[in-house]
């Protein structure tokens, strides 16, 4: 269970949100909505522990994440605006290194299965910078199916994906929630029915 208590965040001396609290239970998909500049990315980064809030605390299963990060990070998968892949390495190298860092061991067959699922077969040896934006996004997303994390925090995951990709991701989200996983995501498009039931949280733009 992921809980945020009384979070306050300001960027460039502008308060984005104050005293914000929310709770997300396992088996829930939270759709974070709001206009540009409302603070969605900042909120997600605070929930992952990459940024610190001005005040307030984030709790995972009752424990403050700033005190104990390792337990939370074993269960967490985060995908932000940046893909987290190095352009001069191939998709295969990028994924292998990433898996090693996150201490996830996956048999080679599974790795290729996932690459096939995201439609990158034949492109796995090419340096990632030669792939299109959508393909690069798929490399980043493929990690979702390699690290079987309980908590998914995804910041605009549908960017650059084509219709098939969006459908595949939404289906995965529904399955993950069905298995008892927890998802927090933002998107500028509405989540379709393929994503299943979800709760909406609106962030307003504050002046």
């Amino acid at each position: 269970m992921l809980e945020a208590r009384e979070l306050t965040c300001s960027k460039r001396d502008r308060t984005l949100f104050e005293g914000l609290s929310l709770v997300v239970e396992p088996g829930e998909l939270l759709y974070l909505r709001g206009p540009n500049g409302a603070g969605k990315t900042s909120l997600l980064r605070i929930l992952t522990g990459l940024s610190s809030p001005d005040s307030g605390v984030v709790l995972y299963n009752g424990m403050d994440i700033s005190a104990d990060k390792t337990g939370y990070y074993q269960d967490l998968f985060y995908l932000g605006h940046k893909s987290g892949t190095n352009g001069s390495l191939s998709a295969l190298d990028n994924l292998s290194f990433w898996l090693a860092q996150h201490n996830v061991s996956v048999p080679v067959n599974t790795l290729f299965d996932v690459l096939e699922k995201v439609g990158l077969v034949g492109l796995e040896d090419v340096p990632v910078r030669y792939l299109s934006a959508g393909q690069q996004r798929r490399v980043a997303l493929s990690r979702l199916w390699l690290k079987l994390a309980k908590v998914w925090i995804l910041d605009e995951p549908f960017t650059a994906l084509d219709v098939k990709g969006v459908h595949m991701l939404e289906k995965s989200m529904k399955e993950h929630v069905g298995r008892g996983g927890l998802i927090i995501t933002t998107s500028h498009q509405h989540l379709s029915e393929t994503a299943g039931e979800h709760r909406v949280f609106d962030l307003e733009y504050r002046f």
């Binding site: 300001s10 960027k11 460039r12 001396d13 502008r14 002046f207």
Partner: protein, 263 residues
């Protein structure tokens, strides 16, 4: 033990503190500096070796001591900001930085001016002068780093790291430059060393030291006030303050009359 300091983590309290301290600092600075400078430059006895030109120490020594002192104070403010996450700590740090740099420049300028009658050159690579020059670079680095960030809270944290790296390096730099100096200049006794100083010379020096310290305090409180108002512009207490100022300044103005009506 430091509980009395905690209210000043809030910008409003810090602002009020600056307002209270400011007049005292200006009065203190004016009093001490006028007494000390006039005493030192006009009335203190002549040095038996250097004649009247040594009088520059009444400006040089206080500014040199305080240039180091201000850097250490900046580092302490940075540490407080880092450990307790106080915005006012980072704001104080950047409020102090330019005045510390100016002190360093004064020390360099007066040090060089002192060198001219002594050694016939406007600049010598004396150990102390070189250390002061490097200190000036450290100040400029901190100020430049702060200015490079758009988000001023982030800027404070980054500049704080550099201030701390600098403060750890200051003793190392000082001793290495001193050692370098002995390698290249032989055993000339530095004119900046005053092993024993007559009391008639010491008093104006101490008074000027206090005067410069008050001056730094005064300028810092002004800069800190400005920084607080700039960063907290959208807070209600700042807007109330601005409104009060506008209302009090021009009572006969039609615009302020309408403001009065509005409030």
């Amino acid at each position: 033990m430091w509980k009395w300091l905690h209210p000043y983590a809030k910008t409003e309290r810090a602002y009020q503190l600056c307002l209270t301290l400011q007049p005292w600092f200006w009065v203190g600075a004016l009093a001490c500096l006028s007494v000390g400078t006039v005493w030192g430059l006009a009335f203190a006895p002549q040095d038996y070796q250097q004649g009247d030109s040594f009088r520059i120490i009444y400006i040089h020594v206080p500014s040199a001591i305080l240039s180091m002192g201000t850097y250490v104070a900046m580092a302490i403010a940075a540490l407080v900001g880092m450990v307790w996450q106080w915005r006012t700590a980072y704001m104080s740090m950047i409020a102090m930085a330019p005045i510390g740099a100016v002190m360093t420049f004064i020390a360099l300028f007066t040090g060089a001016a002192w060198g001219k009658p002594m050694w016939g050159a406007w600049w010598v690579w004396d150990a102390r002068l070189t250390s002061e020059l490097i200190l000036l670079f450290l100040y400029m680095g901190v100020i430049a780093l702060y200015g490079a960030f758009e988000d001023k809270q982030q800027a404070g944290k980054a500049a704080g790291v550099m201030a701390l790296v600098g403060v750890v390096n200051i003793p190392i730099i000082h001793y290495s430059v001193e050692w370098w100096n002995t390698l290249h200049q032989g055993a000339t006794i530095s004119k900046f060393d005053n092993p024993s100083i007559a009391p008639e010379m010491l008093w104006p020096l101490l008074i000027n030291l206090l005067g410069f310290a008050f001056f730094i305090g005064a300028v810092t409180t002004v800069r800190l006030r400005n920084e607080i108002v700039l960063r907290e512009m959208h807070r209600p207490w700042v807007q109330a303050l601005a409104m009060n100022k506008a209302l009090n300044q021009q009572p006969g103005d039609a615009a302020t009359a309408s403001l009065k009506e509005g409030s």
